[in-house]
Amino acid sequence: MRIGVVTFPGSLDDSSALRAIRLAGGTPVPLFHASDDLKEVEAVVLPGGFSYGDYLRCGAISRFAPIMASIIVAAEHGFPVLGICNGFQILCESHLLPGALTRNQDLHFVCTDQALIVENTDTPWTNGYAKGDRIIVPIKNGEGSFQAGADTLKQLEDDGRIVLRYVDKNPNGSQHDIAGISNARGNVVGVMPHPEQAIELLTGPSEDGLTFFTSVLHTMVGR
């Protein structure tokens, strides 16, 4: 099964995401921001990094890349999209996900292994987890504080759309300890932590992140 990873100018974790897809058993397909061709992939990952130098706002300029026009249309028809870190910021700027990611509360760039609870397992990216699973996945960002209006937060909570929540400590001042959310349909998921950096013990703190990638493979095979 073909899963695409978009490289924007300034993407950093695209090769890690491609590798995670391969280790999960999928066929990784590099996609390029300047083309609108999704190359017949069945799902797509927007990786971490600092696309366009984070100029203006994180993700604000990437949103208008030609590949995003194709992804936005596909996502509205149920195509699975995972945004990791900068990818999450791009999804918020694209209005595929609500809210925004702002400067961390203490202004520090936080790079640490973070404990998380998986809350929403009704998404193509998390259906391999059990509700309430505690996982350890790295976070590394300067603008990861999730902010949204009170009505949006209530809707996310009421609809069970909070995918990941920080536990033990809230590293950045995110409202409701939110580390990841989904859209109403569940096919679009954005997470600040980096599951692609927790896929094997040689290079990460755990193998807990690999389930994001095996989940989407199982979802597509089951269709």
Binding site: R57, F64, C92, E93, A100, N104, L107, S145, Q147, G173
Partner: protein, 81 residues
């Protein structure tokens, strides 16, 4: 030639850690006047001649779509001569 100014500020209810950091640095330098500080962005857009109503409407549109994020920010458009 005129300059269209777009000022973008975080909404009052959104935490502004940069403004807070500036506010806490001021008294360390002996500046004790600030009760609080909020930090924003200013764009200077140069146009030929006097800006038309249509141009200003376009700038408003750009401010809404690109220069600000309406989820967390507000903007003001004005002309400087």
């Amino acid at each position: 030639m005129a300059t269209i100014i777009v000022e973008v500020m975080l909404k009052p209810e959104i935490l502004d850690p940069q403004g807070q950091a500036v506010a806490s640095a001021l008294p360390r330098l002996g500046f004790t006047f600030a009760k609080s500080v909020r930090q924003g962005k200013r764009f200077e857009i140069i146009v030929d001649g006097e800006p038309t109503a249509a141009q200003l409407a376009e700038v408003e549109n750009a401010a809404e779509k690109l220069l600000s994020n309406p989820v967390i920010e507000t903007y003001v458009v004005r002309v400087e001569k």
